[in-house]
């Protein structure tokens, strides 16, 4: 029993990503065609050159035909995957493993979500027939329970913590303001963030990710073939995944100040990639900032800060664009919204741009490190799935 990983066996040779926005004028098919077309061009291939497809969407469609029809893929193996909010990352994992196994030469992961056709704010799940006893809270409410628990555990004044959380929102909006593909491209002041109306617990509107439509895609090939497609491939160093058992919801030992699934996935990814000091070895990290307390806790779960210290590091600017480890340099879920099937690949797209020096100049990170991390989670505190990838520009 072991997690061996596929370090340096698979390379990403092309990526694409739509703007994330309330695309009233685009349907799911349009988003898919836009992201796929950009990705094919990026890798210099046609749809026929791709041997197999994995399509991630949480709720916008079922089966691989949701992808095959708009792209008119003929007789290709096309599979739809879903794994809560890590759906996009799961599509990449499947495509990468397919290539690593030798089953295919070229595989593509596409993630897309059309959220804004529901007529409701926020994300809404399919109702699965049930006994009527499951909780019906919003994700905001579930994650809102983290902040008071964290403050109590580490003896932090709740108002001080609120400032720290606001700073996470402020930082991500700052970064998003430098990214034309973001849903929100204007900086937001600390005053505005702190004055926003509450939606759940003490979380205000600006503590929550936006809600947007979007699509993103990646093409992967065997590492030795990478330079046939691009001069600057990204090599997959680690892909890890952890699904919790849901016992956090009913285990009196769980205290809502950490996400064990995320720590598990991170530890596995670091072992696969040979990373021992992520804070200093990584050039950047894209993390799942669905709500501001989530990003705070993730800084500890991902090993960027010691337990109980992330709030100090956030306040000190450690994770700012010019900090020790820029976190969510593209603006994160906060600025991009969260089209569930696309988000994991959108995170990877920022790693693709940054490590290749193709980010907009205002947000381009100048780092000697050649590694980037993406972290994607789904579910709630106590009942979560978590994905971590590490990609790099060099073999070895």
């Amino acid at each position: 029993m072991a997690s061996h990983g596929i370090k340096d066996k698979v390379a990403i040779v092309g990526m694409g990503c739509t703007r994330f926005a309330e695309h009233w004028d685009k349907g799911l098919d349009d988003l898919i065609v836009d992201a796929a077309t950009e990705t094919f061009a990026s890798a210099g291939v046609t749809k026929d050159d791709v041997d197999a497809y994995w399509f991630g969407t949480a709720q916008s469609g079922m089966s691989g035909i949701t992808l095959a029809r708009p792209l008119q893929l003929q007789g290709k193996p096309v599979t739809r995957v879903e794994n809560y909010c890590t759906t996009g990352s799961e599509a990449l994992r499947a495509a990468a493993y397919a290539v690593a196994s030798g089953a295919y030469d070229v595989a593509m992961a596409v993630g897309a979500e059309k959220v804004k056709d529901s007529g409701y704010q926020g994300l809404n799940a399919f109702p699965i027939p049930n006994d009527g006893t499951a909780r019906t809270l919003t994700a905001a409410a579930m994650f809102s329970m983290v902040a008071p628990a964290y403050a109590a555990k580490y003896g932090i004044d709740e108002d001080e913590l609120a400032q720290v959380l606001a700073r996470i929102s402020w930082k991500n909006h700052q970064n998003g303001s430098k990214n034309p593909r973001a849903q929100f491209t204007k900086p937001v002041s600390m005053e505005t963030i702190c004055a926003s109306p509450r939606v759940a617990g003490k979380l205000g509107v600006f503590d929550c990710a936006g809600v947007a439509d979007g699509a993103a895609a990646a093409i992967v090939v065997r590492a030795e073939d990478a330079h046939r497609y691009t001069d600057r491939p990204l090599y997959i160093k680690a892909l890890s995944f952890a699904a919790g058992s849901g016992s956090g919801l009913i285990d009196p030992g769980y205290d809502y100040t950490h996400f064990p699934e995320c720590a598990t996935a991170a530890a596995d990814a670091y072992a696969q990639a040979g990373v021992t000091d992520p804070l200093h070895e990584l050039a950047m990290a894209e993390v799942h900032d669905c709500f501001t307390p989530t990003e705070l806790v993730l800084m500890e779960d991902l090993g960027f800060a010691e337990r109980g210290t992330a709030y100090k590091e956030v306040a000190a600017g450690t994770f700012d664009l010019d900090g020790t480890l820029p976190v969510n340099p593209d603006g994160g879920l906060k600025s991009f919204g969260h089209p569930v099937g696309a988000s994991g690949l959108r995170m990877l797209f920022e790693a693709w741009l940054q490590l290749r020096g193709e980010a907009t100049p205002e947000r381009q990170i100048s780092s000697t490190s050649r590694l980037a991390l993406t972290h994607n989670l789904g579910g709630y505190p106590g009942e979560m799935v978590s994905f971590v990838s590490i990609v790099g520009t060099e073999l070895g």
Binding site: Q121, N130, A200, I250
Partner: protein, 473 residues
């Protein structure tokens, strides 16, 4: 000797100040308060709460039959008593039947139980209102009561023995509601008064006579019925004297329809001493009179939560919210999808969990699973669990939140992670709670509620509520 083995009332927490009605509408209302069922309560859930209280006082008693009476049932065709039966965890072999429709249903069920055999739980509940500013809206009340009737042979003695009973019936139109109508209608009240007063007097006199008593022997008597004027007039005609007239709860709770005579009877038994003679006369399409003598066993019987304590523990409810809860006024709902209807088969499979809040305990590790599980979260044992009931267990708030976005029939949702005494954690909605007053460490208890209704199917499950006042001592 046959009579009352245990009895309890349930008065919901919320109170409408009647003066608020006139302040809002310019007319209607009156003085005093009325009890209001919360948005997540109906006659079935209130019936369950009263039955839990009544059975808690006689732990060894298990009724052989359950009768549920209401004029405002949550379901027609489907038996509401079956839901009460499930929430009480009664054996499958216990019959459960509804006495539905009329305001005389509960006294009829009580009479049948007293005339019959075995141990019978008579559960009654009602939700009363009318159009805004109407006399029914102000004078009505919501509540429930359960009388456990037996002969003392089933593990608990009779605390109030039936010594006299009479029923008289008359056909006349005083109050009526055709199926589907939202409100009741009434004839000119003078006509009903002229019918009810002699009917009630006849029933009372006959019942006393069958007990070999006279009016002066009665320690305490109450007259109930939706015809308030007739009830008051009859009280003056009974010949028992002012001191013997029991509080009919009209000023605090309001007339809780079908359930009201049993609710008032519960309060009387709770306040009585051994040897007291207590009586109730209920006016509804005739009159039913019951006369009991309180036995020495009363001293050993302890009500878990007396009606008087519940009446005193009310919390004010704004009139606007009352109207919204009653569907008389429609506030903007949260812009979230409404929940889908509950799956009948899924609900049936999880009956013990859904209706009784029964989880499971891993015999090897002791880990408690809410809901019950087959595979343990500790140690991984498979199918080695025993049921563990938590509906009567107090819990402590470990953390909480207020959800202002999620769908609720009455937003916001107050939600807490609970750690139960003796083990077990469950995240669950709080109810009858001030959203701003919840704190980590608060003590709560479980209460049976209706979460929502979709496609006409009610979703019953448990919520938690701050621990309510209990009888001292």
């Amino acid at each position: 000797m046959r009579g009352i083995v245990s009895i309890a009332g349930y008065v919901p927490r919320h109170r409408l100040e009647r003066a608020e009605v006139a302040a809002f509408l310019g007319s209607g209302g009156g003085s005093g308060t009325r009890a209001v069922a919360a948005h997540d309560e109906d006659t079935t859930t209130m019936g369950v709460e009263s039955a839990r209280l009544a059975l808690r006082s006689v732990p060894g008693v298990r009724p052989s039959t359950l009768w549920f009476a209401t004029a405002t049932p949550a379901y027609l065709d489907k038996t509401n008593a079956a839901t009460v039966h499930a929430a009480l965890g009664l054996p499958a072999t216990t019959g459960a039947y509804d006495f539905g429709g009329a305001l005389r249903s509960a006294t009829g069920a009580l009479a049948a139980a007293l005339d019959g055999g075995g141990t019978v739980a008579v559960v009654a509940a009602d939700v009363r209102d009318g159009l805004p500013s109407s006399a029914d809206e102000a004078g009505g009340g919501d509540g429930a009561a359960t009388v456990v009737v037996g002969d003392g042979s089933d593990g608990a003695p009779v605390v109030a023995a039936l010594i006299g009973r009479a029923s008289v019936t008359d056909e006349f139109v005083d109050r009526w509601r055709t199926p589907g109508d939202r409100r009741s209608r009434t004839w000119e009240e003078r006509f009903g008064e002229t019918r009810y007063v002699p009917l009630g007097a006849e029933a009372f006199t006959t019942a006393l006579g069958s007990a070999g008593l006279e009016a002066g022997d009665v320690t305490r008597v109450a007259v109930t019925g939706m015809h308030a004027r007739a009830a008051r007039a009859l009280g003056r005609r009974l010949g028992v004297g002012e001191a013997a007239m029991a509080d009919d709860l009209a000023r605090t709770v309001g007339q809780a329809g079908t359930a009201h005579p049993l609710l008032v009877l519960a309060a009387q038994v709770e306040e009585a001493q051994p040897g007291d003679v207590i009586a109730v006369v209920h006016l509804a399409d005739g009159a039913d009179a019951f006369v009991f003598r309180v036995t020495d066993a009363r001293t050993g019987w302890r009500p878990d939560r007396p009606v008087a304590d519940q009446v005193a523990a009310g919390a004010p409810l704004p009139y606007g919210r009352f109207l919204a809860w009653r569907g008389m006024l429609t506030p903007e709902p949260p812009r979230r999808p409404e929940p889908a209807r509950v799956s009948a088969s899924a609900a049936w499979r999880s009956e013990a969990w859904k209706f009784r809040f029964v989880g499971s305990e891993d015999r090897a590790s002791g880990a408690i699973h809410l809901p019950p599980a087959r595979v343990s979260m500790e140690g991984g044992a498979v199918d080695d669990m025993v049921p563990v009931e938590r509906s009567d267990t107090l819990a402590t708030v470990a953390t909480y939140t207020v959800d202002r976005l999620a769908y609720s029939p009455s937003p916001p949702i107050v939600f807490a992670v609970l750690d139960f005494d003796g083990g077990g954690r469950f995240p669950v909605e709080l109810t009858d709670v001030d959203a701003d007053a919840v704190r980590i460490g608060d003590r709560v208890e479980m209460t049976f509620r209706r979460l929502f209704t979709a496609d006409g199917i009610h979703d019953y499950f448990w919520k938690a509520t701050p621990v309510r006042a209990r009888a001292a001592g």
